[in-house]
């Protein structure tokens, strides 16, 4: 950008000097010579720098500006995944606990989620007080609704 500014400054300066010199000289013959010299100077100052213009440098300049502006999508995805896992876990646990409550029992559930791309419940630890009939109903619900078979349900009952 500094190069462009210097170029513009030199073009403006040489044009102004040429016009001022032309304005100051009254004699026609001298005016012709000054005009000729002015024209050659303007040509050299305006055209010569453009011959050495390197588009590669402009491309590198733009690349330099671009570097370091990328959004850190990796850490955002990590935060999103963590929040999603937390929400899925809480939702599934609440569902089981509410099912047990609806049947008249008291249960605390702790879900374990899969490690894959989409977090789904794979196993559950259940602590509470349920009658055998209630236990069977809840266990069947968990198997049907959350796809957690009985061998992956860990029960710890009291009372």
């Amino acid at each position: 950008m500094e190069a462009v500014r210097s170029y513009l400054l030199s073009v403006v300066a040489v044009c102004m000097i040429t016009v001022v010199a032309n304005g100051m000289i009254q004699k026609t013959s001298l005016k012709r010579i000054v005009r000729l010299i002015g024209g050659v100077l303007v040509l050299l100052v305006a055209i010569r720098p453009l011959l050495s213009l390197d588009m590669g440098k402009i491309s590198s300049y733009l690349e330099e500006i671009d570097a370091g502006y990328a959004l850190d999508t990796g850490s955002i995805r990590t935060t999103q995944d963590e929040l999603l896992r937390q929400q899925v876990k809480e939702t599934a646990e609440k569902y089981i606990e509410n099912e047990a409550k609806a049947l008249g029992g008291l249960l605390q559930a702790e879900i374990t989620l899969s490690d894959g791309e989409y977090p789904v419940p794979v196993s559950v630890k259940l602590i509470g007080t349920l009658t055998p009939e209630q236990l069977q109903t809840v266990s069947a619900y968990i198997e049907a609704a959350l796809n957690i078979p009985a061998d992956r349900q860990e029960w710890r009952l009291y009372g």
Partner: protein, 358 residues
């Protein structure tokens, strides 16, 4: 009985809490802390905690800023009075002088008018440079926060592209304005003054070229940015919508009965992030307006006064001097355009972030 139980369960899921900004990894305190004091004074009632109302916020901003432009109006009127006085003096001197001194009157008048104008113009240049730098610094705080919130609301691809693009164009514009266009405006003034002093059309083409370069650079920058935003919005939005739908479908398919409810858990996070994103977006846009509105009004007042002065000076002044005044008002207009372009870039970008809806 089963239907009642199911309804109760569904009501419980509706009561899930909305996520706070910190929970979704977005630090919003920095947006209020990074605001310059002058801008903060114009928007004291607007905070990120309540959802800011854009129109009432902007209206209050404008009214407060207008009240602060009195000083600018007085100094502008003073300058215009000096310029008209000089013009009239030169016209009278030209009428009274012998032919060979006519050129000297024109030259002295042009230089005198330039000297009277340049002090005020320098102050306006400093103000617009500071404004543009402040906008750039604030955008470096605002855009990552806004982009993170937009990405968390499901628009990952669009947010990343908007973030990178806006910062890149903002930096390019800052470099262009500070290193080329502002010096270009001074070159424009120098050439315009020489043109008036010499009372010749020899420098007219050069002056028009510099003016064209300044106005076209800003326009091209803005058009390219708008084109980039339009394409990003369409392409990124489609990709993000597919990604969100795929996640929902996969999760609801994996878990038989409550799969739909579990996949709705992801909707909860997206909805919370979307609310936070909207709040940040509106606050950010009002903040950008707060930063640029006062300088914009001050420069705008000077610009309008110079326009009026150039118009009325046509009745008394010499033609080269009247043309010089018109060029001065054009130079002030270029400064206004530079401030306007920078703030417009950020405002349009803010709107695009708000429009990232998956």
């Amino acid at each position: 009985m089963k239907r009642v139980l199911l309804l109760l369960c569904m009501l419980l899921f509706l009561a899930l809490p909305v996520c706070a900004a910190e929970e979704i990894g977005v630090d919003t305190d920095i947006l209020e802390q990074a605001l310059p004091e002058e801008a903060y004074e114009l928007m004291p009632e607007i905070t990120l905690d309540d959802m800011p109302d854009f129109w009432s916020g902007t209206k209050n901003l404008l009214l407060r800023a207008l009240a602060k432009t009195n000083g600018s109006l007085q100094s502008g009127l003073r300058l215009c009075a000096i310029l008209i006085g000089l013009l009239t003096l030169c016209a009278v001197a030209d009428m009274s002088s012998v032919n060979k001194f006519g050129g000297a009157v024109s030259a002295a008048g042009a230089l005198g008018i330039c000297a009277a104008f340049v002090g005020e113009f320098n102050a306006m240049v400093t103000m617009s440079q500071n404004t543009i730098q402040t906008l750039s610094d604030y955008s470096a705080c605002l855009l990552p926060v806004l982009a993170t919130a937009a990405a968390m609301s499901g628009g990952m691809t669009a947010a990343a592209a908007l973030h990178t693009g806006t910062l890149l164009f903002s930096e390019l514009l800052l470099q262009l304005i500070s290193k080329l266009l502002i010096p270009g405006v001074f070159f424009f003034l120098a050439v315009a003054t020489a043109e008036a002093a010499l009372s010749s059309d020899a420098l007219k083409e050069l002056r028009e070229f510099i003016g064209w370069l300044i106005s076209k650079s800003l326009r091209i920058m803005l058009y390219v940015f708008l084109a980039f935003l339009s394409l990003t919005g369409v392409i990124g939005g489609a990709a993000d919508a597919i990604a969100v739908k795929t996640t929902k479908a996969a999760m609801s398919g994996m878990v038989p009965v409550v799969g739909g409810m579990i996949s709705d858990a992801s909707e909860t996070i997206l909805a919370s992030a979307s609310i936070i994103k909207n709040s940040i977006g509106v606050f950010g846009m009002i903040a950008v307006l707060a930063i640029c509105i006062l300088p914009f009004l001050k420069i705008g007042v000077q610009y309008l006064l110079l326009k009026v002065t150039a118009a009325i000076s046509g009745t008394v002044g010499l033609k080269p001097h009247v043309t010089l005044l018109k060029n001065f008002s054009a130079a002030m207009g270029y400064l206004l355009a530079m401030c306007g372009t920078c703030s417009l870039l950020l405002l349009i970008s803010g709107v695009c972030f708000l429009k990232v809806v998956v």
